[in-house]
Amino acid sequence: MNVQGLWRRCATMIALFLWALPVAGQEATQRFVAADAAPQTSLLVRSTTDISIFAPALEAFVTQFPTVQIQYEQWGSNALYSDSLSACEGQSLPADIVISSGVHQMVDLVNRACASEYRSDLTAQLPAARIWRDELWGITREAAVIIYNTDLISAEDAPRTRFDLLDLMRRPSDDLIGKIATYDVEASGLGFLFAFMDSQEAATFGGLLEGFARVDAVATCCSAEIIEGVESGQYKIAYNVLGSYVESVQHKNLGVIHPEDYTMFLSRGLMIPKGASQRETAGVFLDFLLSPQGRAVLSKSTLIHDNNSDETSTTLSAERYIPIGPTLLVAMDKQRRGRFIAKWRDTFGMDAQE
């Protein structure tokens, strides 16, 4: 089983490589230019963030710095990691900025000396958990939330904690079978990170996996897909969805819960790859995102979660941050990851499907 999985992953990696090498790998691209501007510099940003969510920040930046245009490419986190790694090894051209929610992958890239240093007053103000080696910075603050379809689940049935969710899944009724969704940890770097951090955070993770197995939960890719699924009623509940994606658009029938036992917070990692051609402009871009003005725009785009606007209040003690630092390298360990994914697959019955 293990060897089989390994093979499969290798195949995926190779496929990704081949796929990434020509042009592709990105899911969407967009160019940002200030109105009536003749930009002299082009900044290539590769990010896992949806264009629609990040666009206001990018537009604000090019408005303030009209000589710069931004070529924005949206990537999946695993693809972005492989691309950055191959760029680091000199096999392809690096971007000027890489932003990923797969922070453990970013930490690994920095550890492999794939990033360049940058220092400014603004980066110096970042708390220790959001900066590493002056090469990786956390620019956002996004919560992992539980969402549910308000048409299908009543407010009092909605799980406020992971224990509630467990209880819900343990109920003898069949109405949740195939109706609970979460990230596929293999396809999504962020999904893996969330699940991995969950597994370290509390003993509930074992129970959750067992519960997921019981209700035949669906592991699928990508935030937008999951949110759509819950909205349309395909899924009733989704676990560990990135709150920023949910809140960026008004949804009529979506309930958002910040789990009260603990809520995980993610800070997207930004790095300036080694050998980036526009390193100085990249620094300006980073400073812009960290400046009060940039933070205001990100906050408006829900990328910086504001506690006061919570639908459900989380106490400070229930906040768990994913710290940007070398401990995340554990999540990149081959054997540990292998075991984790094997267990995950067991739960979601993927081997059976194969």
């Binding site: 293990n2 000396a113 080696r133 070398p326 401990t327 554990v330 360990d333 054997q335």
Partner: protein, 467 residues
């Protein structure tokens, strides 16, 4: 004199010399301490971070299990938690099987140049990680399971930022403390030295403010070294004072004593020119007598000045008083001075040794003899005798000696009356007295049935007496 008293501007002060010495000593010490502090900081940082590295490697080694005949590491977060104590450093880790194949962790890198089979102790080594200097440790864990036998090697490495920072911090702390200590030492050294130098300063100030003609002794307080210096200086000044005094006396005596005879000579000379030719011979004879007497006076004044100068400057030597008496007798000056007088010599067989300047002594005795010949009654005896630790050299005539009132004032520097009369007995005796004082002796004048005797008594030299 003023030029000599003010210090030459190029000369460094003693304080600045000593402070310079202290400063260079402290600087040398500071450099040594800094080097030592850096070495110490480096080794302390190396030790503590090596322990962290080893702890992480052991954590990982501990997590290895054999699953289906394959070693599988369940990398513990705590291992990386340990490593992230060095928050800014890159991490390398790899778990390798018996053949060196990477089971998990980073490919590449080295696990150190040791023979794998005899790795029982953790092996630390230095290498590079992503072109940065880094420190590594490899530990081995041996398995003897049914389906797996052999060693699994865990290598953990980390770059040196935190180590260097810690080393620098430690060194900085040590250097700061020693630096402050050094400054405190310097300040206290300055204060101590300055207070020790204060007597010298005072001496310098006293000297520079002193009137160049003020030769009075200076207060000899302060530490021994300064007191010695002040004493030497005082001695020097006293001598100078005496010499200046002698010089003054000589000048004033000369002025005083020469005025009368010179004006008398002039008067005689004028008279000789104006007077009748028959009286001229008589006048000229008077003139010659006056001139000779002036010559004698000049001789005595010069000899007195010489004696006073010699008593200050000439070192006393061993002198036998009998030699002095004999020499004077044999010079036979008295035959010129008083051709009619009879002079005898009287001394015993034993030598009479004193410490004296022979020339001064001879001058004194000559004067005594000349006085006796001039004023006393022949025969005149020059004698030497020893008496209760004193050596005596004396001149005796058979006359009655001078009058009582003359005796009282005799031997002062000069006698106005005597000088005005053109004789110089007072001056001659003052020379005797000066010699006696300089040699620690005394002058005695005694009248007896035998006549009038002037004695110069000097202490007998001790070491010669005992030998």
């Amino acid at each position: 004199m003023t030029n000599a008293a003010s210090p030459a501007p190029l000369q460094r002060t003693l304080l600045s010399r000593v402070m310079g010495g202290v400063l260079s000593l402290l600087a040398a010490g500071g450099i040594l301490v800094t080097i030592a502090a850096f070495a110490y900081g480096k080794s302390a940082a190396r030790q503590s971070f090596d322990r962290i590295l080893l702890g992480a490697a052991n954590d990982i080694a501990e997590s290895i299990n054999i699953v289906d005949g394959v070693p599988v590491a369940d990398i513990p977060v705590s291992a990386f938690g340990l490593l992230s104590l060095a928050a800014e450093d890159r991490i390398f880790y790899s778990v390798r099987g018996p053949q060196g194949e990477v089971l998990t962790g980073y490919e590449g890198g080295t696990i150190g140049d040791f023979s794998r089979n005899d790795l029982t102790e953790p092996a630390f080594f230095d290498s590079t990680l992503q072109r940065e200097h880094a420190r590594f440790v490899t530990v081995a864990r041996r398995f003897s399971e049914r389906d797996f036998s052999g060693a699994v090697f865990v290598t953990v490495g980390q770059t040196l930022r935190a180590r260097n920072e810690m080393a620098l911090d430690l060194a900085k702390g040590a250097v700061l403390v020693t630096g402050l200590g050094g400054i405190a030492l310097l300040v206290s050294a300055f204060l101590v030295i300055r207070s020790a130098m204060r007597p010298l300063d005072r001496l310098t100030r006293d000297l520079s403010e002193r009137d160049p003609y003020d030769l009075t002794p200076m207060p000899a307080d302060g530490p021994a070294e300064v007191a010695v210096m002040v004493e030497a200086m005082n001695r020097f000044m006293q001598r100078l004072d005496r010499q200046v005094g002698a010089m003054k006396n000589l000048i004033s005596d000369a002025a005083h004593q020469l005025r009368t005879p010179v004006s008398a000579i002039r008067a005689q000379a004028e008279l000789a020119i104006e007077d009748d030719p028959e009286n001229r011979t008589q006048r000229l004879e008077k003139l010659v007598r006056r001139t000779r007497s002036l010559g004698t006076l000049l001789d005595q004044m010069l000899s007195r000045a010489m004696v006073i100068h010699r008593t200050e400057n000439a070192k006393p030597t061993v002198v036998d008083l009998r030699d002095v008496a004999l020499n004077i007798f044999e010079e036979r000056d008295h035959e010129v001075l008083a051709p009619d007088a009879e002079v005898e010599l009287q001394f015993g067989d034993t030598e009479v040794i004193v410490m004296a300047d022979e020339i001064s002594l001879r001058e004194a005795v000559k004067n005594m003899l000349a006085n006796a010949l001039r004023h006393g009654t022949s025969p005149v005896t020059i004698g030497v005798s020893a008496h209760e630790g004193t050596g005596e050299i004396w001149v005796r005539d058979v006359g009655k000696g001078p009058a009582e009132d003359v005796l009282e004032t005799i031997g002062e520097r000069f006698e106005r009356s005597a000088a005005s009369k053109g004789n110089s007995a007072g001056l001659g005796l003052s020379i005797v007295r000066a010699v006696a004082e300089a040699l620690g002796g005394e002058v005695r004048m005694e009248k007896s049935d035998d006549g009038f005797r002037v004695t110069l008594a000097l202490p007998i030299a001790q070491e010669v007496q005992t030998s």
